[in-house]
């Protein structure tokens, strides 16, 4: 039996990075939410804001630790599995990712400790300031990593000599053409995803009549953000799409399953794109609407898949279906915001059980949309790993397939034990709710100022495992 190192390395990177992105996306949103709660607490002097801040801080701690742990193996894979990528674009992309590593560790070493363990050790204003700086720091971490990723889609500020990319202009590299759009789209996605989780948790508490004051606050804050962000996210996505159509037209063609570039594109609601036959099966489409969305002109033309040779096309089905999942969830969240807003206006928000039940079960939607969105953009970049500079097939390390098969198996085994345990703890803590050790500072404050985020949640997690569940 022979193993293909290229295919297995791609699966391994996809697997590890998909696991990883769930956690930073959640911590980016959650740190901002905790900082907002603390500011509100200073403002209104109402204690349940602080209770909520303490409760979510413990969950944040577990999530942050999972994000750090799952992130470490990614940078090592650039060497173990993608060594040609390191050689060809390392001069340009290396320092940008280097700054991400520095930012993350600087954060972990400083403000995070104060935020997690400083409830009684430092004055409240300093504690709140630390929470704000952590929220800002997670954005900076996202800034650098999204800049590096965007450069792989829309390289700029470099020159290629003998097949190797060299930096010419750092400003142009960092602020490459797709970066501002990708950054805003992803940050907004992180905030929206966390808002949906907060809304869902609040709704679940209201449904069982526990922690009603906290539940109402969470529903109000979560829903408010969904009303704001869900439509904004569609606009940002549209802007990002326009940018993509300029720099990576083939990706857009795959997203829309648009084959013939000489005719205006339809908006394909459903189809099974057949890459071999180069057409769509079972297509349901609205004529010309695709052109209107992409070119903002009913008769506008945009390149189709047939405009490029087969070997330059991305895997169409991945991109096509993942895009529909992402947009579908986006539209559903707009509907949640709209219905929720109407209920809010008619003062039925906290009593409409069907609505609360639906949003209570919507918590994973943001994460699914994020994973689908990344599937669109990363699969859509194929066959390139760095657009126009290096093909994925040429980026692979000189490793043999069996080694990668072994490592992939180990990754799946270790990740399923480690991360399912972590996710289990988060779920148990959410179910237990803001009470007992989850909101106490006594025990954890005895604990020192270690740079170990998860220890901030130990007592809370242990009690959640032992104690009965509330919902």
């Amino acid at each position: 039996m022979t193993f293909d190192p290229l295919l297995l390395s791609r699966i391994q990177f996809g697997f590890t990075i998909s696991f990883h992105i769930i956690f930073p996306a959640f911590t980016i949103g959650l740190s901002a939410y905790i900082a907002s709660l603390l500011v509100l607490w200073h403002w209104h002097k109402r204690d349940h804001y602080q209770t909520l801040a303490r409760f979510w801080t413990k969950i944040f701690a577990v999530s942050f630790a999972m994000g750090v742990v799952s992130g470490i193996v990614l940078s090592y894979q650039f060497g173990t599995n993608w060594s040609k990528f390191s050689v060809v674009v390392g001069n340009v992309i290396g320092p940008v990712i280097g700054y991400e590593v520095l930012t993350a560790f600087f954060l972990e070493a400083t403000f995070l400790g104060v935020m997690l363990f400083g409830w009684k050790r430092v004055p409240p204003w300093l504690h709140t300031l630390s929470a704000i700086l952590v929220a800002f720091g997670t954005c900076m971490s996202g800034f650098w990593i999204l800049s590096a990723n965007s450069w792989m889609h829309t390289p700029a500020g470099h020159e290629v000599i003998d097949g190797i990319a060299y930096p010419k202009d750092w400003f142009a590299i960092v602020f490459n053409p797709s970066f501002p759009y990708r950054f805003m789209h992803m940050m907004s996605a992180a905030y929206l995803t966390t808002s949906v989780v907060v809304l869902a948790v609040g709704a679940r508490y209201l449904l069982v009549n526990r922690f009603t004051e906290e539940g109402k606050t969470m529903v109000r804050m979560g829903l408010g953000m969904v009303i704001l962000l869900a439509p904004l996210q569609i606009i940002l996505g549209d802007l990002h799409g326009l940018n993509t159509s300029k720099y990576q037209p083939t990706k857009i063609a795959a997203m829309e399953a648009h084959w013939d570039g000489s005719k205006p594109g339809a908006l394909v609601l459903f189809a099974i794109p057949d890459a071999k036959a180069e057409k769509n099966l079972y297509e349901i489409a609205i004529p010309k609407l695709g052109s209107f969305i992409i070119t903002h002109d009913w008769n506008g033309l945009f390149p189709g898949l047939l405009d490029v040779p087969k070997e330059d096309r991305p895997p169409i089905a991945n991109v096509f279906f993942a895009f529909r999942i992402m947009v579908g969830i986006g539209l559903f969240l707009i509907a949640v915001g709209f219905v929720g807003g109407l209920l809010w206006l008619s003062k039925k928000l906290f009593s409409q059980r069907t609505f609360l039940w639906v949003v209570g079960h919507s918590w994973p939607l943001g994460f699914i949309a994020i994973l689908a969105g990344w599937m669109v953009t990363e699969s859509g970049r194929q066959p390139w790993i760095a657009h126009g500079i290096l093909r994925t097939t040429d980026a692979i390390s000189p490793v043999d397939g069996l080694s990668v098969a072994i490592s992939l198996t180990l990754f799946v085994l270790v990740y399923s034990v480690v991360f399912s345990t972590g996710i289990l703890y988060i779920c148990k803590m959410v179910k237990k709710g803001p009470q007992g050790a989850a909101i106490a500072d006594k025990v954890d404050d005895e604990a020192a100022l270690p740079s170990r985020p998860i220890s901030a949640a130990q007592h809370s997690a242990r009690e959640s495992l032992e104690g009965g569940e509330v919902i």
């Binding site: 193996v73 060594s83 390392g90 001069n91 990712i97 600087f106 930096p167 604990a447």
Partner: protein, 338 residues
């Protein structure tokens, strides 16, 4: 070669060398703790051991990320050769580190059903330590490079020499762990650590001796470096000094009046061995073919990241010192940072 082209790679090599050295010493003692775990039977002893490293272990692993990340950014060509050549030991090491790291935390959460996490902690520590020794051995014995690319087989690293380095590093980490326990704990845990440290010290010293003889035997370049005149005169104090430190370490372990002498002697032994290895391999980053300067990224890239590193590194160092200072002294049985 201009001053910048000469100096920048040198600065980065020193920074990365320091990060790796700090990592080996700092994570060494907490990995060693995991290796010593099965030699202690009571939950109380295990708790005390865990508490003695609880505030530090996560920060200790930071240096591995900074060392690895630094190598990638500053020396992408070396990274691209070393990582595929040592694919399995490196990947297994990372997974073992993840596993033992979370075992460390989940053990507290899972109490009283924490036995499985004890096993995970020990196995993870042992596998990580062994893999690191194999990586060291694989690097020392040389990597086959053709056209700036790894050109060997997937099991090139699997040799008697690298296996011996794996066992040797496990013994060394166990020594660091035992002497750490002598310094940071009291009662039964400390007493037992003094007994455990002795065989591991002898074993480590033996392994250092074997490596010192074995490497010049299999690698003529190293034999020539150490045994030609006048180099020999400059270099022979190094093994001599090692013997003095060995004696100091032995006294620190066996004489109960000393608390920290054993640990710092063990650290010095590690530093001396590290210096010896560096002397043997200068100026190579990937022995025996790629030098620090050949592997370097272009100066623009090295400089860009160096600016940020020079600002943030002192802060991270400062925080490390602060944490160790805050948690100085011994951990008594039944109390801890938890």
């Amino acid at each position: 070669m201009s001053l910048i082209e000469f100096g920048l790679p040198l600065i980065w090599a020193v920074l990365i060398g320091m990060a790796v050295g700090l990592y080996v010493i700092l994570d060494g003692f907490d990995l060693g703790l995991g290796i010593l775990y099965p030699f202690y039977k009571t939950e109380e002893a295990h708790d005390q051991m865990m508490n003695s490293v609880a505030p530090f272990w996560d920060g200790n692993e930071t240096w591995l990320v900074l060392g690895g990340g630094g190598l990638w950014v500053a020396f992408p060509k070396a990274y691209a050769i070393i990582m595929p050549a040592l694919y399995l030991p490196i990947t297994i090491m990372l997974l073992a580190l993840i596993f033992r790291g979370v075992a460390f935390e989940f053990r507290w959460v899972a109490k009283p059903h924490h036995f499985k996490w004890n096993v995970a902690f020990t196995l993870g520590s042992l596998v990580a330590a062994f893999s690191q020794g194999v990586v060291l051995g694989g690097l020392l014995q040389g990597i086959t490079v053709v056209n700036n690319q790894f050109a060997g087989g997937p099991l090139d690293w699997f040799t008697p020499f690298s296996m011996m380095c794996g066992v040797g590093l496990c013994c060394g980490y166990a020594l660091l762990g035992a002497t750490w326990l002598i310094m940071k704990t009291d009662g039964e845990v400390e007493k037992r650590a003094r007994i455990l440290a002795q065989p591991f010290l002898i074993a480590l010293f033996g392994f250092i001796g074997i490596v010192s003889i074995w490497t010049p035997l299999i690698i003529p370049r190293i034999a020539e470096l150490w045994f030609s005149l006048p180099n020999f005169y400059y270099l022979f104090p190094l093994p001599l000094f090692s013997i003095v430190v060995f004696v100091l370490c032995w006294l620190g372990i066996t004489d109960v009046r000393h608390t920290s002498q054993a640990f710092f002697s063990a650290v010095t032994l590690f530093v001396l061995a590290y210096i010896g290895l560096i002397i043997s391999n200068v100026p190579y980053l990937v022995p025996p073919s790629v030098t620090v300067w050949q592997a370097a990224a272009v100066p623009e890239s090295q400089l860009f990241l160096l600016l940020g590193t020079l600002v943030l590194l002192p802060m991270i160092l400062g925080y490390t010192v602060f944490v160790y200072w805050t948690f100085r002294g011994k951990v008594k049985a039944g109390e801890g940072y938890h």
